[in-house]
Each structure stands twice: as C-alpha cells, then as structure tokens.
C-alpha cells in the first residue's frame, strides 16, 4: 500500500490510538526478540535463532505501517503542539524499535553462523548479564512512554551509562579470553559483536527516553547521549 492510496476516515484521536496500539505491539515484539536472541546465543538454540530472524520481518512491517499512518495523520489533521509531538514521537520510537529488532536479528544470525564452532559455554555468560540489564531498560522506557512518564524516562536515560560501563569491562574480559587461548579468538570476536549489538539496543532505549521527554515537554532533552563523552564511548 503506497502512502498515496491510504483512506483513513477516523478522527485524530482514533489515529493516535491506532498508532499507540501498533507501537505497543512493536515494543512487545522487540522485547521478545531481544530476550530470545540472547537465549538462543547462550543455549546455542539454532531453531530459536531462526525464529527470531523470521519474526524481525513483522517488526519491519509494523514500522512501515506506523510511518505510513503517522504521515497520513499529519497530512490529514495538520496537528500542532502536543498533538503533533505525539505523532512525531510515535514515528521516532517506531524507528528506534525497528533498529532494535535488527540488532536482535543480528545476534540471532551469529548464533546460526557459529553453529559447530568451538564455544566455551562460560564465555557467553557476560553477554547474557548485559542483555538482562538492557532488556530491563527497554521494558522500563516503553512503559514510561505508555504512561508519558518523563521522570521514569529520565531514569532510563541516566542508567544507560551502566550498560556502557558493563560493555566496556566485557570487551576487556573477552580480549583476555582471546589472549589466554587462541582457540577462543573466533568465538570471542562474535561475542564482542553480540555484546556491541546489545549495548546499541541500550542506546536506542535511550533514544526512546529522549523522545518521551520531547513529547511531554516539547523541547529536546539534550543533544548528547549520556555515553557521548570520550571516556565511556571508547569502544563505540
């Protein structure tokens, strides 16, 4: 369906509710895929990884639907102020959720690619730990969005620094495993990217927090992310 031949006849509030429903569906799916991609990595569950890869298409479809519906809403209702920010906020969050789905899919693709390679089980533990923290951040910020709770969004925004710090120590830990035993190098290199993907999921949760703040206050929270300083961003 092209942007041109869409026929929405509902009122602005109906448009907004439909956007909210699709975003909630998208957010729930993202949480599911992020959790399952890491489970697949830890348990080396190839079928689960393949399901995650397949399900990411549904997230992409939802993002296209939200973009289309949001654009049509702006074109038909010409909303202003808070109404406009609600629609723009939905477009921005759908964009971040689509990226989160891609990152979960990338982890799942590595699980498939790693099948049969030498994989010391304990090494994936650190990745699972940072994933738990990141998933909690994602759930929290999506809840903050649903409630338009700028204070909870601000907390998520602030706590992203912890994920970055955890990622940086995990990065060093994985390098140590590589130096200890060259047989670890291939697997650890993939784990480095999995950890990086998870850290980036945290960044997108931070973007969502900034969008919640923008929707509520009408001004950007800040130009810089908490991680934007050179110290914590060493391993971007």
């Amino acid at each position: 369906m092209s942007l041109a031949d869409n026929h929405i006849v509902s009122s602005f509030d109906d448009d907004l509710n439909q956007l909210a429903d699709k975003l909630a569906e998208m957010g729930g799916l993202c949480e599911k895929l992020v959790g399952e991609s890491v489970d697949a990595l830890v348990r080396r569950d190839i079928p689960l990884a393949r399901r995650v890869i397949e399900w990411d298409r549904a997230i992409d479809r939802l993002q296209h639907e939200i973009e289309e519906r949001g654009i049509m809403t702006i074109a038909r209702r010409a909303p202003v102020a808070i109404d406009l920010r609600q629609v723009v906020g939905a477009l921005r969050i759908a964009n971040d959720l689509e990226r989160i789905g891609d990152l979960a899919k990338n982890i799942a693709k590595r699980v498939v690619a790693l099948d049969g390679q030498f994989q010391p089980p304990k090494l994936a533990g650190g990745v699972a730990h940072i994933a738990d923290l990141t998933l909690a951040q994602l759930k929290e910020v999506l809840d903050a969005y649903t409630r338009r709770d700028d204070k909870r969004a601000l907390e998520v925004w602030t706590h992203d620094g912890e994920i970055d710090a955890l990622y940086n120590s995990l990065f060093r830990e994985l390098l140590t495993y590589m130096m200890e035993d060259p047989r670890n190098i291939g697997f650890c290199a993939h784990l480095l990217f999995c950890a990086k993907n998870i850290e980036r999921i945290g960044d997108h949760a931070t973007n969502v927090a900034e969008t919640v703040y923008y929707v509520v206050h009408g001004v950007p929270l800040t130009e810089d992310r908490p991680k934007a300083d050179l110290v914590s961003a060493d391993f971007d």
Copy 2:
C-alpha cells in the same frame, strides 16, 4: 525551535528545494566525515579524529532541521502521490545520513581511544580498502538521488554485496592476525569494529538506494537487503 512554532510561508516547491539543499549539505558532510575518519585511523591523526567527532553535531542538527521542515511541509501542504514521496524520501534519507555520520564518529572515537596502543600499520590497510569502496557507493547513491536516477540507485543496491564479501574476508584476516600474535588482539578488535562500522555505512547507502527507487516508482524495491541472506550476513 519546536515543531509547533515554525512559520513556513513558502510554496510546496520552495519547501522541497529547501529540503533538497539541506540534504545535499548533509550528504556532502557525510562523505567528508567518512573519508576523514578512515584517514585519521590509517594515519593515527588524533586532531583530525577529534574534528570528525565535533563535526558530527552539524549532521545531527541538519537531520533535525530536515525532519522539522519535512513534517511541517506535510502538515501545511498535505501533498499526495509523488509530492508526498519526495518529502518522505527526504526524511528517510536524512535519517540514514544521520546514522552514517554516527558511524564515522564512532570510527573517529576509536582512533582517539587507540592513541598510544600497539598498532602495526599494515593492519589498517584492509579497512582503508573497504572504506574506499563504501565511500564510492555513498557518493554514487547520493548522486543517484539528486538526479532521481533509479537505475544508478539499483546498481549501488546490487553492489552492496561486494562490500559485505570484502568485510567478511577482512573479518577473517583480522582474526588471523590475532592468532599470529596476541599483541595484535587489542588493536585488531578495534579494527573489527571499524570495519563493521564501514560495512554498516554501506548498508545505509543501500537504504538510500531503496528510498530513491521508492520515490521514483512509488513502491518499495524489496523487503530484504541484498545482504539479508544468512550466507553473506554471517558476520552482521
């Protein structure tokens, strides 16, 4: 400036031209920063890397301006068909260019972080090679967009597979350097991420190609990127 208090009085064509000017500025800046970030990596030029990090802010500002102007254009002119696709296309491309700027900034941050570390010069050569190919793709697709040339866009879209193949062999090459000499591990791990950032810049060039096709034809090129198969995406 919030989305609410913007006062555009120009005609739709003026709006479109202003969007085009800002996009051209953004595209030129992205090409510059991608090239300079890799130069900084190869030459270990810390001051250049710091300038890239600083300049990325300008790209972010342009993306916000384009989003704001594009949204206001849709709200005020309620364009349809090709007119609407022109605006939506500008919004999508600005989004990809903003990501490209981030990726160049990430490479530059690594250059700063790597300062003083053991860095065998020859190792960065492979990264420079994939960067040249990617930069050529970026220039080509931005030119294709300016001319609304869907055939050239399609060529860029097709050639992304070469960047992925090059990245995959570079990935294996860097792992070999790690196994040869543990002192290479730290530096090569950073190079792995630099190479990955460049490969992702290629993905965003591919996204731009898809947007050019969409603007011209009004239908999506495809749901999948050329790299979306599991073979070439082993190292996503």
